[in-house]
Symmetry: C2
């Protein structure tokens, strides 16, 4: 990342430090401070600021409201970790583990209210518009999480269903983050739409890359166990594609590994990966990722500002496309 | 209740039927429809409409946004039932029992977003003010629920702490319901404050009456088991007051019933009630209730509209004060 992006991230981090979610009762507010302090890439508010900077240089007056997308993101993590029974978040105990489920539910609820406090800090004439668009996004994120949970017990998930799920669960919030930056900058309706679509397409590509890295990442760079999704039979893009393409013995072998209760972990990861290899799932997934990144970059091109103003957004997109963890 | 109140309640019920929380995924939206259709007294939107009618007769344009307080109330019930492990809600399975905890968390989250959709339906000039005041209230309701949960494991809860908890958990939402009606009607700042305080004082009295009825209700009218709070050692106003006033043998007897694991239910309820009787807890609680109701009625008096316009709010307050279940 270039120095400008790094300095924006530093400003975002400082502003997050400045968020005062509340004090008492401590069991309600400590978890909010905790999850916000766990870190993370802060991609969403960065997108908001960069979208704003397509039009105006000085981000000071939009920095605080931009945090809304980061607080909302962390709210979804706090509740998702309960639902997904995920004991760890960024290598630390997740909130429901460190405290308990009830506290994670209620702290999350307060966080969602605080998101609206931050959204209310946009300038008066756009408050209503910002909240309407945010609400559409927030509801879609919940829909995506519900589809994801529904998929766990669903026999068959199609590629289309899966792409729709990750669009809702992950991509629309990236889209809104950019759209909100544009809204605060007074961008035109077509520009707002390109910003949103840019974010959605990047987001889908980003999530597909997550699926891919879980199997094909460089172990040393990845930082967590390679093959976790395979071990938990998670319905990722790779598995859905493999189930669609496998026939005969290949299908039976895949089905075996999805149903066997007692197995050697390494053997399962290696065997399923070998099936993916024979079906060329890595190549197919990369093509799909590139398709979405390409569509995203086309959206960026269409935004009606001078090309040189788009350099930072392009830099961030490139950084995200080339990540190895 | 008089015919006017009944007709307002009918309009509220019809408007609630008209709420479209969403369709798919069904596991996300069916629970919202379900909890909204379970009924309930609809006191909160009724308070909003009656506050509005202090100033204007025709409630049509404020009916929809008034539902925000009812949807928010039901959101808190959906999440509270998970936290309190309450399997029943209005004699039907609560959402987390009928579906599961994850669905109850996520459906609740969407409901909270939908609350803001309804709040956005107020007229543009007051949108921001309404949401700011609602957010303060919503955060306090969460604080109240957290204090209530904290009390379960706390050795000693003072009367002041308890009164503050029920104010936050129950009363401030009644206060906001009235305040919102006033806001939509263009009431003055002093009037808004009296409306809010009227609701808060009534709400505290209302919650204390809940505690009282759980022990001293007429079994045939009450509709649920008398003494449930005694059996579960719930830290109610009655118990807190009794622990404060009991000494010597009386205190030991009370402490015995709070710690004994193996007991006859009827004997426990009768024995603890007998202790309450000797300490005159019923009388003390009634005095406290009357104190809050009286303060509430004084707030109502101070509102700067003709006395005859207050008749319906007075009627509702009287109805709530004299309930026997």
């Amino acid at each position: 990342m270039n120095d400008h992006l790094k300095s924006l991230l530093a400003e975002i981090d400082k502003a997050i430090q400045g968020i005062e979610p509340g004090r008492y009762p401590e069991n309600l507010y400590d978890p909010i401070r905790y999850i916000l302090d766990l870190g993370g890439k802060r991609i969403r508010p960065l997108l908001t600021l960069l979208a704003y900077q397509l039009y105006h240089d000085d981000v000071r007056k939009v920095l605080r409201p931009s945090l809304a997308v980061e607080v909302f993101h962390n709210f979804t993590l706090m509740h998702d970790d309960i639902m997904d029974k995920a004991p760890l978040r960024r290598n630390k105990p997740s909130v429901y583990k460190k405290w308990n489920e009830n506290i994670a539910i209620l702290s999350g609820d307060v966080m969602l209210v605080r998101v609206y406090d931050l959204l209310l800090e946009v300038e008066d004439p756009i408050v209503k518009d910002v909240i309407i668009r945010f609400n559409n996004c927030a509801v879609e994120v919940c829909e995506g999480q519900q589809y994801d949970m529904d998929f766990e017990t669903k026999e068959m998930v199609t590629e289309t269903e899966y792409l729709n799920m990750i669009k809702l669960k992950t991509a629309v919030l990236l889209g809104f983050s950019l759209e909100m930056g544009g809204l605060m900058a007074g961008a035109s309706e077509p520009d707002l739409n390109y910003l949103k679509e840019f974010g959605i397409n990047m987001g889908i590509g980003f999530q597909l890359m997550d699926d891919l890295l879980d199997v094909y990442a460089d172990k040393d760079l990845f930082g967590k166990q390679v093959g976790g999704d395979i071990l938990s039979n998670k319905k990722t893009y790779l598995l859905i594609k493999a189930l669609e393409l496998a026939h005969g013995e290949e299908y039976d072998a895949l089905h075996h590994w999805l149903t066997v209760k007692d197995f050697n972990k390494k053997e399962k990861v290696n065997s399923v990966t070998a099936i993916y290899d024979r079906l060329e799932i890595e190549k197919l997934t990369k093509e799909q990722i590139n398709k979405y990144f390409k569509m995203g970059l086309e959206d960026l091109t269409k935004i009606d500002v001078r090309e040189d103003r788009k350099a930072d957004l392009l830099e961030l997109a490139t950084y995200l496309m080339n990540r190895e963890k």
